[in-house]
């Protein structure tokens, strides 16, 4: 059961450890971390379900309270690991712009010397202020009917 809990926790902890700010990643470890991220929800869910099944099976046979507490903690951690594989911690740190809104250039309250990322598609011009983009990082947008993603 402890082994299953460790697997479940590793499913969300390993990718976060590897793919974190101010840490260099080699291509091999990055590929491994991304592979784990992709299979993590399923693997950790299986671990959590197995932990629940084991706990149910053993609950009447394990009487000593330290062991019962350990079993409960192991179960809770396995479930926590599974839940966390569905949480995008990066979007918790930098909230996404789910519904970007725009205003006319003449109304925008942006300092003249602030930098913007500028795009022009078929005569439709958009500007994405960098001071805002550096926080949200990604804006999924449609300009002149063309779906684009602005990144910074």
């Amino acid at each position: 059961m402890a082994f299953l809990t460790l697997i479940s926790l590793a499913c969300f902890a390993f990718p976060i450890y590897v793919i974190r700010p101010f840490r260099h990643q080699g291509m091999a470890e990055l590929a491994a971390a991304l592979f784990v991220k992709r299979i993590a929800p399923w693997v950790s869910a299986m671990c959590a379900v197995l932990c629940i099944a084991i706990a149910v099976q053993l609950r009447s046979r394990v009487r000593r309270w330290p062991l019962r507490v350990a079993m409960l903690v192991s179960l809770l951690l396995a479930v926590l690991g599974s839940v966390m594989t569905h949480v995008d911690v990066y979007e918790r740190m930098f909230h996404p712009l789910d519904a970007p809104a725009f205003e006319a250039a003449q109304q925008a309250k942006v300092d003249g010397d602030d930098m913007v990322i500028a795009v022009n598609l078929s005569g439709e011009a958009r500007a994405y202020p960098i001071r805002e983009m550096a926080y949200h990082h990604i804006v999924n947008d449609v300009v002149s009917g063309q779906p684009i993603v602005s990144t910074y």
């Binding site: 990718p15 793919i19 974190r20 700010p21 101010f22 840490r23 260099h24 990643q25 990055l30 590929a31 971390a33 991304l34 592979f35 991220k37 992709r38 995008d88 990066y90 979007e91 930098f94 909230h95 996404p96 712009l97 970007p100 725009f102 205003e103 006319a104 250039a105 003449q106 925008a108 300092d111 003249g112 010397d113 602030d114 930098m115 913007v116 990322i117 500028a118 795009v119 598609l121 011009a125 958009r126 500007a127 994405y128 202020p129 001071r131 805002e132 983009m133 550096a134 926080y135 949200h136 990082h137 990604i138 804006v139 999924n140 063309q146 779906p147 684009i148 993603v149 602005s150 990144t151």
Partner: protein, 242 residues
């Protein structure tokens, strides 16, 4: 900036990790992971796929507004606005550590560069040098290019400097002192002259007067990037002035 349409599907991207100080993004539709810097999927069902680039500029807001007075600007989200970057954020970033450095290059890791990858080659230009000299004539691969600073003394663009294919490129001279113009006249304002015809050219690379009035130079996309990042993704890059 990338196109979101791939193989007939419109992809929706989410921030998914930091990769050597660029970021990774994941698309909802396939669950693949893509590099921000290259637009290439590096993991998942679409691994190896490449998003199409979208041409973009990095300009001051005032210059952009002068060129596109009817344009639209991304609005801030009030509840996150206090977390947006301070005005001097680029100065603050110079103090942040990097995960990569190339000390043998003689260039500081966080030296800001204008990187051009075109014509089968990549070449980097120190932004401090561009802003000081206002116009640099150079080559990327075998192609003559010019990098020029806008009338705001901050925005940068690059162009192929040949006027016609197969012809030698003329020299271009940027005006040392630019006449102050109203924002609405910026597009008509010339900032440089070519040595072949004496035509006058604006910051969009279009001749506004002279023999070549109406002709536009081909623009060359560039990327403002820290040296360590540019060098990491363009290991064969050359550096102008070195």
């Amino acid at each position: 900036m990338w196109k979101r349409t791939f193989a007939g599907r419109v992809l929706t991207f989410h921030l998914a990790g930091i990769n050597n100080q660029n970021f990774l993004m994941r698309d909802d539709e396939s669950g693949s992971y893509w590099q921000q810097i290259s637009g290439r999927a590096i993991s998942g069902p679409l691994s190896g796929s490449q998003l199409g680039p979208v041409r973009s500029d990095e300009l001051t807001f005032s210059l952009w507004r002068s060129e596109w007075p009817a344009g639209k600007v991304l609005k801030p989200v009030a509840k996150f606005a206090r977390d947006y970057e301070d005005k001097d954020w680029e100065v603050q970033m110079l103090k942040a550590r990097t995960v990569l450095a190339f000390p043998k290059s003689g260039i500081k890791a966080r030296e800001l560069m204008w990187g051009i990858a075109a014509f089968g080659a990549s070449r980097a230009f120190a932004i401090n040098r561009i802003l000081k000299e206002k116009l640099i004539e150079d080559r990327v691969g075998t192609e003559p290019v010019l990098i020029v600073v806008g009338p705001d003394n901050k925005s940068i663009r690059a162009f192929r400097s040949r006027l016609k294919p197969g012809e030698a490129a003329p020299d271009f001279y940027r005006d040392a002192a630019l006449a102050r113009t109203a924002e609405q006249d910026a597009l008509a304002s010339a900032i440089m002259t070519d040595s072949a015809t004496g035509s006058r050219w604006n910051f969009r690379g279009c001749a506004v007067s002279g023999k070549l009035a109406g002709h536009c130079l081909e623009d060359v996309p560039g990327l403002k990037d820290y040296w360590f990042d540019w060098r990491n993704y363009h290991p064969d890059t050359s550096v102008s002035g070195m």
